[in-house]
C-alpha cells in the first residue's frame, strides 16, 4: 500500500535533520501568519468576504473578463487570450520575436511554470532570466520550485553558497545569506539592465479599472518592468476581481496569510504601458473554465496562491514539495493536480490525514480537505484505488454489517495479543513501522454489557 508520494516522503524523512528543519521553518511561517491574523479583529470577516467576492466573480467570469479587457484596451494595453499552455507560450514568443528580443527577465509566476514556458522559450534561443532570488537559485540549479511562495525552501545555505561559487564566482565556502543575496543583487542588476522585455505574473486583475496588481518583496517585478519598454503579463483567468474595494480585502489577506507580513514591500498597480512602450496581458484559461462546471471542486478557483495551506499542512512540512507529483504541492496542489489530470496525479491524494487545518488557514475559505476526501471517493471509479485499502474496506463493511460476526470477532480479537511478535511485526505491517499495535482488551464492551457487568448493580 503505497503511492509515489509515500515513497518520495520516505526519502525526504530519511534525512531527519533536513526534515526537522523544513517542518519547523514552515511552522514558524504558520506562527507568523497566526500572529498577523490575530492582530486583525475582523480577520474572519475578511476571509468570508474574500470567499464571497471570489464566488461571485468566478460565477460572473465572462462579464468581468470582458469588462477587464475593455478597460485594459482603453488604457492602451494589448490583451491576448490563450486557451492552453501552447497558445500562451506562442503568444509570448510572438511578442518577443516581433521586438527581436533576446533577453526576457521575469518575476515569479506559477502560471508560466504551469505552461512550461521557460524551456519552450530557451529552446527558441531566448535568454530567460528568473529574477526572484529563490527562483533564480532554482533556475541555476535546473530544478523546479518546491513551494509556491518560498520556492527554494528545501535548500540549505551551503547548497546555495556552493552554487553561487560555481555560477556567480562568489568567495569559496561563504554561505552567509546576506553575502549571497548581495551577490545575486549585483548579478541580477546586470540582467535587468540588459533585458529587452520584462514579464510578470498577476496577483489580481481589477475589472473596473483594467489594473494588473503584482506583489513582491524583492522589487524584482518593478525592476523588470521599469527598465525594458515591453511588459508582458501572464494572467490566469481566475485572477479577476471586480474593483478596488475588493482589492482592499485581498491586500489585507495575501501577505499575512503567505508569509506572516502585514503586506509585501511592493504592491504595484500596472494600468498603462510605459511611455513609448507596450504592455501585453495574456489571459490564460488552460482548463480553468472547465472547473467552473465542477460543483465539487469549483472552489479551487478562489485560490490566491498564498501557500498558507502548505505551511500548515503537517504532511507537506514533513515530506517536502518534491514529494508531490504535481508542480503545485500541498493541499491546493493535490486538488489542482487532480483537476488537471487524475490519471497522472492521483498519487498525491494519499498525502492528507484529513486534519482540516488547511481549510482554516485558507484566506479564501476553500474547502481543501473536503475536496481531498471527495477525490478519494472517486479513485475507485478511476481504477486508481489501492487494492489493499479496497479489500480492507470491503472486509470491514462485511464485518460491521453482520453484528453477530462482529461480536464473535470482538471475542476472538484478544488472541492476536498473544501471537508471536515476528508474525505481527513483519514487512507487510505498515503500522508496525515505528508503532506498537494496540492490545485488545480481554473482554469487549459489548460482551460486558451483555453480561450485565456495566449496568448499575441495583437494576
Amino acid at each position: 500500500m503505497s503511492t509515489k508520494h509515500t515513497e518520495a516522503a520516505n526519502r525526504f524523512i530519511a534525512n531527519k535533520e533536513q526534515e526537522t528543519w523544513h517542518n519547523e521553518t514552515l511552522w514558524f511561517v504558520r506562527e507568523k501568519r497566526d500572529k498577523m491574523a490575530m492582530d486583525v479583529p475582523e480577520w474572519e470577516e475578511l476571509r468570508e468576504l474574500s470567499s464571497k467576492i471570489k464566488m461571485h466573480t468566478i460565477t460572473h467570469l465572462d462579464k468581468y473578463a470582458e469588462e477587464f479587457t475593455r478597460n485594459a484596451e482603453a488604457n492602451g494595453v494589448i490583451v491576448h487570450w490563450a486557451k492552453d499552455a501552447t497558445e500562451h507560450n506562442e503568444i509570448v514568443y510572438s511578442i518577443l520575436s516581433r521586438h527581436e528580443a533576446q533577453k526576457l527577465v521575469k518575476s515569479k509566476s506559477m502560471l508560466t511554470e504551469e505552461c512550461h514556458m521557460n524551456p519552450y522559450l530557451i529552446e527558441k534561443g531566448i535568454d530567460v532570466v528568473e529574477s526572484d532570488l529563490g527562483e533564480r537559485i532554482l533556475q541555476l540549479m535546473d530544478e523546479p520550485p518546491s513551494h509556491i511562495v518560498m520556492p527554494a525552501i528545501h535548500l540549505k545555505r551551503q547548497e546555495v553558497g556552493k552554487l553561487f561559487e560555481e555560477k556567480l564566482h562568489t568567495e569559496k565556502d561563504n554561505s552567509d545569506p546576506t553575502y549571497l543575496t548581495r551577490a545575486a543583487r549585483q548579478h541580477l542588476r546586470n540582467e535587468f539592465l540588459t533585458a529587452d522585455v520584462g514579464m510578470t505574473g498577476c496577483n489580481f486583475a481589477v475589472a473596473d479599472t483594467g489594473d494588473v496588481v503584482v506583489c513582491t518583496n524583492e522589487g524584482n517585478a518593478d525592476m523588470g518592468t521599469s527598465l525594458p519598454k515591453i511588459h508582458i503579463v501572464s494572467m490566469g483567468l481566475e485572477k479577476l476581481i471586480p474593483n478596488h474595494k475588493s482589492l482592499a480585502v485581498y491586500s489585507r489577506l495575501l501577505a499575512r496569510s503567505a508569509t506572516g507580513q502585514p503586506v509585501t514591500s511592493y504592491m504595484s498597480h500596472f494600468r498603462k504601458p510605459r511611455e513609448g512602450g507596450e504592455m501585453h496581458i495574456i489571459i490564460v484559461d488552460n482548463g480553468r473554465s472547465d472547473i467552473l462546471g465542477n460543483d465539487e471542486h469549483i472552489q479551487t478557483l478562489k485560490c490566491i496562491r498564498c501557500g498558507a495551506c502548505m505551511n500548515t499542512c503537517p504532511v507537506y512540512r514533513r515530506s517536502g514539495g518534491y514529494s508531490y507529483t504535481y508542480f503545485i504541492p500541498g493541499p491546493i496542489g493535490i486538488n489542482l493536480g487532480m483537476l488537471k489530470n487524475p490519471e497522472e496525479y492521483y498519487d498525491n491524494v494519499s498525502a492528507c490525514s484529513l486534519c482540516y487545518s488547511c481549510n482554516n488557514v485558507c484566506p479564501a475559505k476553500i474547502d481543501l480537505a473536503d475536496q481531498i476526501y471527495r477525490w478519494r471517493q472517486n479513485l475507485n471509479s478511476l481504477g486508481k484505488a489501492d487494492t489493499m485499502k479496497k479489500i480492507m474496506s470491503g472486509g470491514m463493511k462485511f464485518l460491521f454489517t453482520h453484528p453477530a460476526l462482529y461480536k464473535a470477532g470482538l471475542k476472538m480479537a484478544p488472541i492476536i495479543n498473544h501471537m508471536p511478535r515476528f508474525l505481527i511485526y513483519n514487512g507487510l505491517n505498515d503500522w508496525g513501522k515505528g508503532r506498537e499495535l494496540p492490545k485488545f482488551a480481554p473482554e469487549s464492551f459489548t460482551s460486558m454489557w451483555k453480561k450485565g457487568k456495566v449496568q448499575k448493580k441495583n437494576e
Partner: protein, 194 residues
C-alpha cells in the same frame, strides 16, 4: 488565434457556470487605531524601514545630508530638494538612473496598519523608486489612514497609469528563511512626515 480563443474561452465559461453568487456588501467595520501616526511609525519600523516627523522649520535638505552623508548621486524631481544631482524627469533613458545612491520622492497616502505609502507615478522614470540604494518618501502626516479599505477609497492614478504601495525596504528570505534587506530595490526606506 487570439479572437477565436477569446470567444471559445468565454463561451466555455458561460456554458459551465451553474449557480451565480451575489456580490457581498464590502463595507466592513475595519480596524481603527487610537493614534494613526504612532501606529504608522511603529509599522514602518516593523517592516524594516523607518519614519520620522520633520520638526517645524527644519531644513529638509540639511536633514537629508545628515542622514545620508555618503550619498553622491541623489535623484529627485521635487523642487524643494536642492541637493538633488539627477532629475528623473529629465533623464533620456531609465537605465542611466542605475547607480543612484538616494532617491527622494513624494508619497500621497500612508496606511497605519501596514506602513504602506501610496506612490502614484509622479516622475518620468519610475525606476527611480526601485533602483536607488536608499529611498526617502515625503508624506503629509495628515494623509495617514487606518487601513487598506480607506486607502483604496482615496488613491488616485494619473496619466502615467502606474502606482505602487511601498512598505519598507526591498527584502528577501529565500535563503533558509533568513531575512535579508535590500534584495533588488532600496536597502533602506525612511518616510519623512510633515
Amino acid at each position: 488565434m487570439s479572437i477565436n480563443s477569446k470567444n471559445d474561452i468565454l463561451s466555455n465559461v458561460k456554458r459551465h457556470i451553474k449557480v451565480q453568487y451575489d456580490m457581498p456588501d464590502l463595507d466592513i467595520a475595519a480596524i481603527q487605531y487610537p493614534d494613526k501616526l504612532e501606529k504608522f511609525t511603529q509599522m514602518c519600523k516593523a517592516v524594516g524601514g523607518d519614519a520620522m516627523v520633520v520638526k517645524e522649520g527644519e531644513d529638509i535638505n540639511a536633514l537629508m545630508r545628515s542622514l545620508y552623508p555618503d550619498a553622491k548621486v541623489i535623484a529627485s524631481n521635487l523642487p524643494e530638494i536642492d541637493i538633488a544631482t539627477v532629475n528623473p524627469d529629465k533623464v533620456e533613458d531609465a537605465h542611466s538612473l542605475n547607480g543612484t545612491d538616494l532617491a527622494i520622492i513624494q508619497g500621497e497616502v500612508g496606511v497605519a496598519e501596514n506602513a504602506c505609502v501610496w506612490i502614484p507615478q509622479n516622475v518620468k522614470e519610475k525606476v527611480v523608486y526601485f533602483i536607488s540604494e536608499y529611498l526617502v518618501i515625503l508624506l503629509d502626516k495628515n494623509k495617514i489612514v487606518h487601513n487598506m479599505h480607506e486607502a483604496y477609497d482615496q488613491i488616485k492614478f494619473n496619466d502615467y497609469g502606474f502606482g505602487v504601495f511601498i512598505s519598507g525596504p526591498s527584502k528577501t528570505a529565500d535563503i533558509e528563511q533568513s531575512l535579508v534587506v535590500g534584495a533588488h530595490g532600496a536597502k533602506g526606506v525612511i518616510v519623512l512626515l510633515r
